[in-house]
Amino acid sequence: MSADSTAPIPVSVLTGFLGSGKTTMLRHLLTQPEFARTAVIINEFGEIGLDHELIEASEDSFIELMTGCLCCKIRSDLAQTLAELLRRRDAGRCTQFDRIVIETSGLADPAPILQTLMTDATVAGRLALGNVVTTVDTVNGLATLGREEISRKQVAVADRLVLTKLDMAGSSDSALLGQLAALNAGAPVVSADHGQVAAPLVFDAGLYDPQTKSMDVTAWLKGSAYHHAHHHHHDADIRTFAIVREEPIRAVTLTLFLETLAEHCGADLLRLKGIVNIAESASPAVIHGVQHVFHAPAFLERWPSDDRRSRLVFIARHIPQAWVEVLLAALDAEVAAVAHASAPV
């Protein structure tokens, strides 16, 4: 398959806590044919990076970022690195890669990395947001999740969760699986066998499929998963939940709703995904936000199924579902009242 040099390139983020098997999995993935045209950016934290020594990739499409933790110190470096990769590709100075994978340091918060991909003018338009894959060590994962806030965030924002070190643990722990479901019910869990996992299982799960140039909103949202998860995570600081609305939502209401979420929740709104029945539009809108940064809604040509309800999936910390629900209802009622009052008699 030859790469279309003008087609947007999906960028996926591979994250997971220290020692959770990111590099081992990536090393195996890069040997698979589906990963042959992949550029890799590895962020190592510390003066002496080792992970890049473990990866066999062509050097011209491999960049190591070692100046600090990707999420906090060198966001601009990431944007510059991506821009440099694109320049090399455009000039024919490296493999014509059709995918980029960013392996974060084990201590990185993936949310600011997603924001960089969403907001940097030098790479916008050339890249498409791929998915977030998080590795979870089955030996130490449960203890790590209990101890490390950053580990919980890495799990919460994932589109795919990969269990690693099953060969050492013997089997996946039901308590660990329960914790993963509590933090992120919508992300399918796959297992890596000695670090090996089929590439399509983990990296072909983004909203946009560059091969078909279409969107798979249903798989992206995994809305049905959240009803089950509602019952067993009352004490978690990070929660996933879904808001479902039968009636169409006015565009003004949606705007005010998103503005208010950004204003009052900020960093606690880890991710928001949704499909919205906009009252003024025959086409549904897909929305996506990370903390206070939101994409402009993307309008689908048609509904993906007969289900015309608006569905909003929240991955949030310290944000009560009841507040989100009453906020939307109250704003909708106020907008309706204003529209009614200003309507011609």
Binding site: A7, P8, L117, M118, T119, D120, A121, V123, A124, G125, L127, A128, L129, L207, Y208, P210, K213, M215, L256, L258, E259, T260, A262, E263, H264, G266, V286, I287, H288, H292, V293, F294, H295, A296, P297, A298, H318, I319, P320, A322, W323, V326, L327, A329, A330, L331, A333, E334, A337, V338
Partner: protein
């Protein structure tokens, strides 16, 4: 507007105090005025008192207009949550899906 809708602003403020972990209770008076009690400051929110504003928010005697519930929430939180720093929504440059 039905009774449930009329009570939504009170419900929203009550849930907001819980979400922001701020002590206080919210009551709705017969004319629709909302009163926040037991909080650090005395707050009243009067509906429809001014032609330009849907709400008038009075905090410790100081009155300010609010064009919508969004503005009411902002004023109430600014009054009750000293650590609150508003964060405006930012629209991504990159499209959600490539065109």
């Amino acid at each position: 507007m039905n009774e449930a809708d009329r009570d939504l602003p009170r419900e929203l403020l009550a849930e907001s105090l819980l979400a922001w972990r701020i002590a206080g209770s919210v009551a709705r008076e017969h004319d629709g005025t909302l009163v926040i009690d037991e909080a650090a400051k005395s707050i009243r929110i009067d509906p429809g008192e001014h032609p330009m504003f849907r709400w008038m928010v009075t905090v410790d005697g100081r009155k300010r207009g609010a064009v919508s519930l969004v503005a009411v929430l902002r004023q109430v939180r600014e009054a009750l949550d000293p650590g609150y720093a508003t964060q405006r929504v930012r629209v991504a440059i990159a499209p959600l899906v490539p065109s």
